[in-house]
Each structure stands twice: as structure tokens, then as C-alpha cells.
């Protein structure tokens, strides 16, 4: 057990406070022996990623703050010579700014791309978990400025509830990342149904979705819209039923590439 970051993607509003504060802490200040100065531009010890899914008017956006995973079994540590990368007792992984000079292989070793090369200092650099602040009893700057509580930091044992059901980046590598994410949305399938004869949207239509393994149900809202959120990637079949209308059937909806907006779908009145 040790320190870890806990990121609730549902709470992230894409304000970039964290990315700014990280730069402010490290770009013009050096915190030896933890960190040398970060160049003014070009490195992102914490970086916000924006993900846009869907098409008009069914668009959804989420943001993912990405930073060093402070892995349990760090690839960078293995690649480092002379103990240039070490793990603190609290679990934070630190690149020693003196010993690591010239060791570009530390950058290349990170499968997540979270280590940057400082050309001027010939130094690999990355997030330190603001280890220099922890001794003063403070939290990392990104956590300090997060106004929604999306990024939190603490002892893993205190966040057991969060970890249960959380994901990490590239778990298949088995490196034991210590940045836990929750609520990274899956794909969505959405659309609108309407009655072309009356030129009215159809409210309360029953929508039934399946991928052969699992099923989901939804009803259209006041705008005739249906939404299935947080779906896996794969093939789906959708049926839409509404009283007095022929059933709609969509056999192969593919969410592998992106979320899907089926658009405006007319439903024909059932012939007597």
C-alpha cells in the first residue's frame, strides 16, 4: 500500500486548472533533490485529454487527466542505471535529477508516454507527485486546484471504495499503475424517433438494446431522444416499439470506432 491518485472522470469539467498548476509549480521552480526545472513548454507532467463522441445533436464530451502512474513495478526504474529512478517509501516514483542525466532510455521505457526528455539538461522528467510538498503536509498542486474534487490523492487503503471498480491505464502490462480512474464513459448509442405523418417526436417509445450477452432498456424523452450510455465496444441490435407504430429494428450497430448517433428515425403508423 502507498500513495495513489484517484480520478473521477465524471467530475472533470475540462478546466485545465491541474495542467496549469502543475506547470506553475515546476516550470520556473526547481525542487531539488526531487525535481529540476521543467522547460516552459513541451512537457506535460499532467495533461488533460479531451474526448468528443457522437454527432449533432447527440454529442458527449469527457476529459481525462493523464499523469505518471507511479507504478508498483515501474518500467522506467528497470531501465535506469545507477539507481537514477527510485521508489520512495510512500510509493511515489522519482527520477533523480542528478543521476538520470543522459539516460534517455528512461523516457523510452515508459509505455504510457508519461516521461519527457529535457534537451537542455539532458534529463528525463515527469510527475513527482509533488513529493517536495508532501513533507510540508500539503497535497500535489493538481489536487489542490481541482475545484470539483475530480483528482484526489492519498493512501490506497483510505480509498478502497474508490479502487473497487476503478480502472487503470493499460492493465494488461501488469505494471500496477497507481493512478485509478472511475467513470471513464463507454460508448453510447442514441437517436430520435418521430412520426412523419404528424411531424411530431415520439415520447415514451420503448427501446431495447442487446449485444447478445447483455440487454439494456430505455425510453424516449420529451424530445423523442433515447440514450444508451456507457456501453462496451462491439456490435449491438436495437429495437424500438411505440404504441400504434411499426417496430423499428437496427441489426448491426457498431461502436468499435465511436459512439453512434442513429439520427432522426421515422416510425410508420401501424396499418389497421
Amino acid at each position: 500500500m502507498g500513495k495513489a491518485f484517484f480520478i473521477d472522470v465524471a467530475k472533470c469539467s475540462g478546466c485545465y486548472n491541474c495542467q496549469f498548476a502543475c506547470k506553475e509549480e515546476h516550470c520556473t521552480n526547481e525542487w531539488l533533490p526531487i525535481a529540476a526545472k521543467q522547460p516552459m513548454t513541451g512537457q506535460f507532467w499532467l495533461k488533460v485529454e479531451e474526448h468528443v463522441e457522437g454527432t449533432k445533436p447527440m454529442v458527449r464530451i469527457h476529459y481525462i487527466p493523464v499523469l505518471c502512474n507511479h507504478c508498483k513495478d515501474p518500467a522506467c526504474l528497470k531501465a535506469a542505471k545507477n539507481g537514477a529512478v527510485y521508489k520512495r517509501e510512500d510509493g511515489l516514483v522519482i527520477i533523480d535529477p542528478e543521476k538520470a542525466v543522459g539516460q534517455k532510455e528512461i523516457v523510452d521505457a515508459c509505455p504510457y508516454g508519461n516521461i519527457y526528455w529535457n534537451e537542455e539538461l539532458k534529463l528525463p522528467q515527469k510527475c513527482t507527485g509533488c513529493a517536495h510538498l508532501l513533507e510540508e503536509g500539503r497535497v500535489p498542486r493538481c489536487v489542490d486546484v481541482c475545484h470539483t474534487g475530480a483528482i484526489r490523492f492519498g493512501e490506497e487503503e483510505d480509498f478502497a471504495d474508490f479502487i473497487d471498480g476503478a480502472t487503470v491505464r493499460m492493465p494488461e502490462l501488469g505494471l500496477g499503475p497507481k493512478v485509478y480512474y472511475r467513470n471513464i464513459p463507454g460508448r453510447f448509442i442514441a437517436g430520435t424517433v418521430y412520426d412523419p405523418e404528424e411531424e411530431e417526436v415520439i415520447k415514451g417509445a420503448k427501446c431495447h438494446l442487446t449485444n447478445g450477452v447483455k440487454t439494456w432498456d430505455a425510453e424516449t424523452d420529451a424530445f423523442g431522444d433515447f440514450w444508451f450510455r456507457d456501453l462496451p465496444r462491439g456490435l449491438f441490435t436495437l429495437t424500438v416499439e411505440a404504441d400504434g407504430f411499426d417496430e423499428l429494428h437496427f441489426p448491426e450497430i457498431d461502436t468499435k470506432g465511436n459512439s453512434i448517433n442513429l439520427g432522426d428515425q421515422p416510425m410508420n403508423r401501424r396499418k389497421a
Partner: protein, 855 residues
Amino acid sequence: MEKVFTNLTTGGPISVYVEDGKITRIRPLQVPEEDYPKPWTVEDKNGKKYSPPKAMRVAQNIMAEKNRLYSEDRILYPMKRVDWDPDGERNPQNRGISGYERISWDEAATIIAKEIDRLAPRDENGVFDGHAITALTGSHHNWGIVGYKMAPFGRFFSMLNYTPILDNPDSWEGWMWGAPHMWGFYWRLGQPEQFDLLPDAFKNTDMIVFWSNDPDSTHGIYSGQESNIWRVWMKEMGMKCVFIDPFYNYTNAVMDGTWFAPRPGTDTALAAAIAYQWIIDDTYDHFYVENRTVGFDEFKDYILGKEDGVPKTCEWAAEKTGIPARRIRALAKEWASKRVAIAGGVRGGEGSACRTAYGTEEARFIIALAAMQGFGKPGVSIWGTTMGAPADYTWFPGYAEPDSQMGKSSAANTKYAASSVKQRLYRLNYPEDIMNGKGEFIGDGFCGQSIEQQFVQHEYPIEGKVKMLWRYGGSFMGTMTETNRYVQLYRHVGENQLDTVINQDCWFGGEAKYADLILPACTNLERNDLGEWSVGGGYTTHAEIGNNWRVIVREQKCVEPLGESKSDYEIFQEIAKKLGVWEQYTDGGKTEDDWAEAYWNISELSKRMSWEEFNKKGYYIVPVPEDYEEHPAFRWYYEGRDCDTQDYLNPKIKAVNNMNTMEPTENSKELGTFSGKIEFASESLKKLSPEDNERPAVPHYIPSWEGHETELYKKYPLQIISPHPRFSFHTHYDTHASWLDEIPCHRMIIDGYAYWIARINPKDAKERGIKTGDIIELYNDRGSVLCAADVTYRVPEGVMHSYGCSAKYDPITTETGATDRGGCVNILTNKRWLSKNAPGMAPNSCLIEVRKWEC
């Protein structure tokens, strides 16, 4: 040894950590837990209670304040253009081309004093006739009552009796020029009061329609991210949200709203169809319409087509807006079945839709829809979702209050309240008016005194032509319209040329390089001042209701001014000394701290905390009174009572006791229109502008003069909107804070150059062979701008989006003329006013084409 100072910015209060004279970090104001007073509490429909976090949620760009302070773009020394000789050739044609030489402050002040003496002769009493000198400022490159533009700048130029350039209300044009004719509130420049609408919405509102409004990005203007948590709470409590905006905006992304994307410039058609549906469904508030409004029958005749033969059906609107009729109908029905707050702009009014051709009609239609549903009724309001928190209303002067302006304040022995010169120029017209040597315009820009003020006729010149232009803060190439005009003025040669151009700023903005003399100003982190978070005073009374905590901050000098920069007050003193008027200018030698103390003592708050204590502590958080009573905006009007809000500029109530007590008058039940009621058919327009078919008495949908229904659309088939930015503020922070260059929705670095972002729909991009990260050229007959492409479904087909506030103007010469690679998309916009008698700008009515840039 670390020292911590307090200061205040446009985006909130800060703690500044300094070591060895250098700032290490800047954090939102750090207040010990025990120093927070008891927070306010609001309740939702289910009785759940909400109180704000004990933290200051400043705007995100403030996180880059240190980056901006130490920017490579800082102006550090006085400079003179090498081929500008005040005693010989002035070479205006070389402005923007020739380089600069460093000069001393003494040289700079001597040259300027000589130019002022030449251009502004004094009479036997020492009174200047400065009509040949004109000067204007941007807004909000700094914060603080003592140092803000209305103080040192205002006092200096009023003393010279200069020719003022009137500001246009550039963020809320349609509300300024339209709304007063429908609901008064001219004393708020057309915008609504917002008192106590937060508790009202929590308790009573079912749905919020965000109409051209992205409060997560525009921050209640100066309130940072304070209101973000209110919207998160509303999402948690299941508030339904609709977003009407051609751009899938950031607030929509947070709130998961239902998105309506009308073609730019067709919001009014959408609104007309909603009104139509309510009339034929009979789902509007008859009692309200009959008792609180006038002219509904005329409005109804227009909507139903009796006036022009065209019923404004959902089918009709579908053709205009591109939104299916059934979807518009669904919105109208859902709306009528619920209690709805319209978030018609960040403080209620504003929004990019009001900055389109005939934007007056958009603002009036929002009021029309609210009136049809009886706004003022619990839960039914016009509420931007950024204001309306409970607060202590003890008056404290914002920088725009007369009492806190150096030239007007009761703290001044000698007042220089206003220029005695009669002639005025207008920010939207001055380039051509100066170049032509003549011009005319109507309205006083910010028309806060009366409705009639919108029709004041101005002519230039009266006293005589201007020969000197003094620019201070900001850059208009990125913010006004058809902005190549501003460059042309600088380089104009001939009888009407500008002999002398001075630029006084902290940073090299887009316009600084066109000056003959450049004066380095310091920021408010390098001088002493004081101010209240979010509160400018003046027309938006009590803007502290946009914050969770009401905070007055002693702005402390954190570091020495960089280079040879000086505070604006000191700069004007240098020149006043050379002119021999230092005593008059400084009101007998008052220092910045003398003024600060005087302003503190003007407010009753000084009775709660002494100046000495405030000065030492650095801030005062004003607690909400224990017995706080809610008086929601418009409730008094809905219930037919006297106005009981703290809207102290409302002339129908009487503000006494230093603006702290409101007393009713015999007219206090009325709005500020001619009839005292909401006017579906405007009495003021009937009387003052009867022949105007572009702003008729009844609000109309009028096809844009540069939209999809014009001939030009065939040549330039993309509509570009350029709203206010998310990561910068006006032209501030952009470019001067390099970390913003790396925010991929702000700028993108390509081959070492940070290009401004322009968003384009994937289909439009594919047709033109454009990918995300390509350099693209946006162009029309007015100019050409390079941007970085962001190919995204955030914009619909046929629409492009690029924020309208680039700080950088960086023309490069090409075969086709000047192309700006700084990203000033406003070069492309049309200088035409909203309409012939509505002198506002309409940058969001703009047609362009785009192509991949092959360099």
C-alpha cells in the same frame, strides 16, 4: 525567506508566494478555515441543503498569472520608434514595420509633454484644450480601484479635456440596444437584475434553457469558477437542461443537456416559433400578459402572420434554423409544461447570439418568451446561472462607481470629472472617422442614463480633428470588427494622419508595435491597490452575488516592477511633472496608498474593520447576515409590488444611506420602459424611432445581412462564430502566458508557432482535405487569417467556431496581401452595425471560406 502577499485579479483573489523577490507560486487566496464566516445555505425542492466549499474558485487563466507576469512579452523599457521624429519626419506609413530604440523615462516624458503642449494649449487659467488628443483603453488587463483605467487614466485625460472615444457595449450589444425598449433596465445597460435567483431556481425551477450561454467558460465575467458548483449541484438534483448554441459548449459538456444548434443568426426564428406554438396551444400566462405587459396583440399579429402573411410556425422556423420542426415543437411543449429559467447570457443577458445582425431582436425575443411564461413567478426567470447567491449588500465602491474614480471621487479635492470637449468618437467607427476627417454616429455607447440616450446624435469634428492617439491596455484587432481598419488608421498618411501614437501597456499586445512611443506599465502585482472580487460597480450593481464568498482584497505589491515599468499612476505623474501640473494631477500629492485608504473609508465596511487591520490582514470576507431575507429578482414585478431588490441604480426606487437602503417611490412598481410595463410592442421605439423597420416596435425575425439567406453565401458558404474565450479573458493572458499555447482547445503549436484554434465539422473538413492540426486559412473579401484546425463534431456542418479574442496580430505578406497568423478572426467580420439605428457590433454574422494553407 518566503513571504505571502494578497492580490486580486479579473478572475479572483490570490495568494502570491515570493522568495528572494521572485514569485514562486500563485494560489487561489488561502484563507484559514476558521477565517471563513458562516456560509449561505440554499435548499432544493426536496429540502436538501447546499453550502459552498471553503475555497476560492478562481478562473483557470489565473493559474497562469505568474507565467503572464514574467512573460517574454512584457514591455520593460520606454521605447521610441526609430524613424519617428517629433521635430521632423514622422513616417506613419512605417508603423508596424520600423523598429524601436530604448529611451529613458525622462526622454519619454519630455517628448510627450512637448507633444501635449503643442496639441493641447492652455488658457490663462491653465485649462487645457485637448481636443486634438484622443485616448482609449481596453478593459480589465488589471484589477484594482486605484489603478484601473477610470482612475489614473480617467483623471489625466479629463484634466487635458481630450476627445473621448466611447466604448460600444461589445459583450451584450443586442441587450443594450434592444432590451431597454422592452423592459427598461437601461440603468443596467439592458441586462436583468439577478438577485436571489440561485435559491429561487434550486427551489422552484424545473428546466434551464441555456440560450447562447457557456457560463463554465465565461465565468459570470469576473467570478472565476465560483458558480460551477451550483450547476454541478443542479445536475445532481436532476435539473433538465437545454442548450441553444451552434457550438456544443463546455457547460453543455458538463450538464449533459439536450442540444439545439440553430444556424447562426436564426435564434430569433426559433424563438418566434416557440411563441407561435404557445399561442396556438394556449399555453402562455394570460394573467401576466394582460396585467404586466402591453402590445401583446401586435406581437401576436406578427407571430400568427396577420401582419405579414407568414405564420411563424415550427415548419417555418425549421427552414431558417435547420432544426426539424418536430424538435422545435417538442421544445415548446416541454417548456410550457415546466417552470423554466432562461440562461440568456452569462449575467442573464449577453451571449454571442446578441452579437449578430439584428441582435436587438434576439434579446427582445428572449424577454418575450420569459414574459409569456410570467417571469418573476417562482422558478421562472431570466437567470444566467452565474449570479444570485445570498450576500451582505453593504455598499463598497467598485472601480466604476463615481466615488472610486480619482477624477470624480468625494475623496478628491480637485475633481476632473469629464472632458469639457463636446466631440466624441466611437470605438466601432473611429478608424475611418479619423482617416476621413469626419464622421457621425448615434448613441452614447454605454447608454445607462435613459432610453433616449440611445438616440443622441454625434458628429466629428466639432472642436477639431484629433492628431494624437493614446492606447492603453488590450488590442482591438482581436476584439472589434473588420479590424484591418485599425491597422490602416495607424499607417494612414496625409492631412488626417495621426502625428503621434502612444501605447501604454504591460505587454506587447497586437497594437503596441504600431506606436511611436511605448510606455512600460506594471501589473497590479507590482503595486498597491484594493478592490472587491468581481465587483466593477457601476451598471452591474452588487456583482458579488456571483461569488460564493464576498471578498474585499488589499492588493499588495508582491514584487518590484519588472525592468523600468511603472504603475499607470506613476507614468501619468512623470508626464504631469514635465507639464508642471503634478500638484493638480495628484490632488496635492496623494499616493496610491492615500487613495486606497480613502476608498476603503468611503464604505460602511470600514466600520467593521479598520483600514489598519485590513491593510495588515490583506482581505475581508463579508459574512452573509444571519437574518438574510430573500428578495428574488422580478418577484416584486410579478406580484405587482414595489421593487424590493438592492438594485440601487433603479431610478424608480430611492437609494439612501450611502446606497445601503432602498426606499420606494410612487413609481416603484414599474419597470423602466415608457409604459412601466413589459412592452411586446415598444412604446419607446414607436416614439423615438417610428420608421425603423430594422428594429421595429414588435421584435421580428429579420434575415441576417450576412447569413445563409444572402447572395454572399454562395461564395462564402461557412458561417463563423467567434464567442468570448474559455482560457483567456478579452485579449489578456493569451500569448502572454505561454502555457495557454499548449491548451489544445486554445492554441496549438505547429512547427514551433502557436496558432489560434478554429473548429470545423468533419464533413466540411473532409470536403476541403483538412485534418486536425493542419494550418488553415480562413478568408473572405475582408481578409485572411491562419489558424490551426480542430476537426470536431462540436460544430455542425456549415459552421465554424473560433474564439474572438486573439491577443496576437502578426501579419505576414503573401501574394494576396496581408494574412494574419496571430489568429485575429475578427479581421474577417463585418463592421456593419446590428442595424441602422443600433450601433453595436455583430461579429457573429460572418461568412467565410477555408482552405488548407500551403506555405
